[in-house]
């Protein structure tokens, strides 16, 4: 059974990491979560990114955040990845499996999954 005491243990473990993180370069994964994104399946995509980043041990360099409508609703679920010193990458029409693949290849491996980017679809 999950208890609040267990949460205190997680806190203690995390406190060390937080100080480490402050200096690290940050990559931001931004998921479009307006009506259009949600209806197209953005919720499992967001969950897959959070879960994938957590399991891959990337939480000290990657943050997953939500935004509203990006303006290209026909391509939802849309995810933008911002890396320091690099051009923004826009992934379109994602699902949970593609998200897991992007975590592995792009966020972990450093290689853009070109076939899921907006350039490949347009």
């Amino acid at each position: 059974m999950k208890t609040l005491a267990e949460l205190a243990a997680i806190k203690a473990r995390m406190q060390n990491n937080v100080t480490l993180r402050e200096g690290a370069a940050q990559t931001r994964v931004v998921v479009g979560m307006a009506t259009c994104g949600i209806a197209a399946g953005a919720r499992p995509v967001l969950a897959a990114f959070v879960d994938g980043v957590n399991k891959a041990g990337l939480t000290d360099k990657v943050t997953v955040t939500q935004t509203g409508c990006i303006g290209i609703c026909q391509y939802e679920p849309v995810v933008e990845i911002y890396e320091e010193g690099k051009e923004k990458v826009t992934y379109v029409k994602l699902d949970a499996d593609k998200a897991a693949e992007i975590v592995e290849k792009h966020l972990k491996g450093g290689n853009i999954v070109t076939e899921y980017t907006i350039g490949a679809i347009k």
Binding site: L7, A8, K11, A39, R43, P44, T59, C69
Partner: protein, 187 residues
């Protein structure tokens, strides 16, 4: 939308946009199978004019396009089961806020399943970790609940509720409560 929990995720974001610092989300299932969804916030509220127009799909506050389907879709989901959606809102300084209520007949063939409500709640909290969220899902078999002020009391200010590890904990915490209630319901 294929699940009611997706509509809930969508319309609750309106409370976030309204600048609320406290949002109460409640699902209550009565003995006779009627489900009431309520989201109550202390945000800026809506003028009478806006309240009249929010269920019009051609009204939206977003700037990227001219259509707003969030509330019309929830209204439709409710009405097609024979239920109704109501909005009460005040813009009065110091007491502003909005309460949205939608009822559903879960026995209706057109009732959309609630779906993954745990995922909805966790995503709402992690998207706005500084807002005080209170979630309650009440049925005759028991209540599942999460109050972020209790988590904040343990975590303090330095650990955000948006941290993936905290999200994973919240998800497990809620799922265990649901499982416990399900087993109790079977007895």
């Amino acid at each position: 939308m294929k699940e009611l929990s997706l509509n809930i995720l969508d319309v609750t974001k309106n409370s976030v946009t309204a600048g609320a610092d406290k949002i109460l989300i409640t699902l209550e299932l009565s003995e006779d199978g009627w489900l009431t969804f309520t989201v109550a916030d202390n945000g800026c509220g809506m003028s009478d004019e806006v309240q009249r127009r929010v269920t019009d799909p051609f009204y939206t506050t977003r700037t990227t396009r001219k259509v707003g389907m969030g509330l019309p879709l929830l209204k439709l989901a409710s009405e097609q089961t024979g239920g109704e959606m109501r909005i009460a809102s005040s813009t009065e300084k110091g007491k502003s806020g909005t309460t949205l209520t939608a009822t559903f007949d879960t026995k209706s063939i057109d009732f959309m399943p609630v779906g993954d409500i745990v995922s909805t709640v966790c995503i709402l909290i992690s998207g706005s970790p500084d807002i005080h969220f209170v979630f309650r899902d009440i049925t005759p078999d028991g209540t599942v609940s999460l109050d972020t002020s209790e988590l904040k009391a343990v975590l303090g200010d330095e650990i955000s509720l948006a941290e993936p590890e905290i999200m994973a904990w919240m998800s497990d915490y809620l799922r265990e409560q649901y499982e416990e209630r399900r087993l109790k319901g079977k007895q």
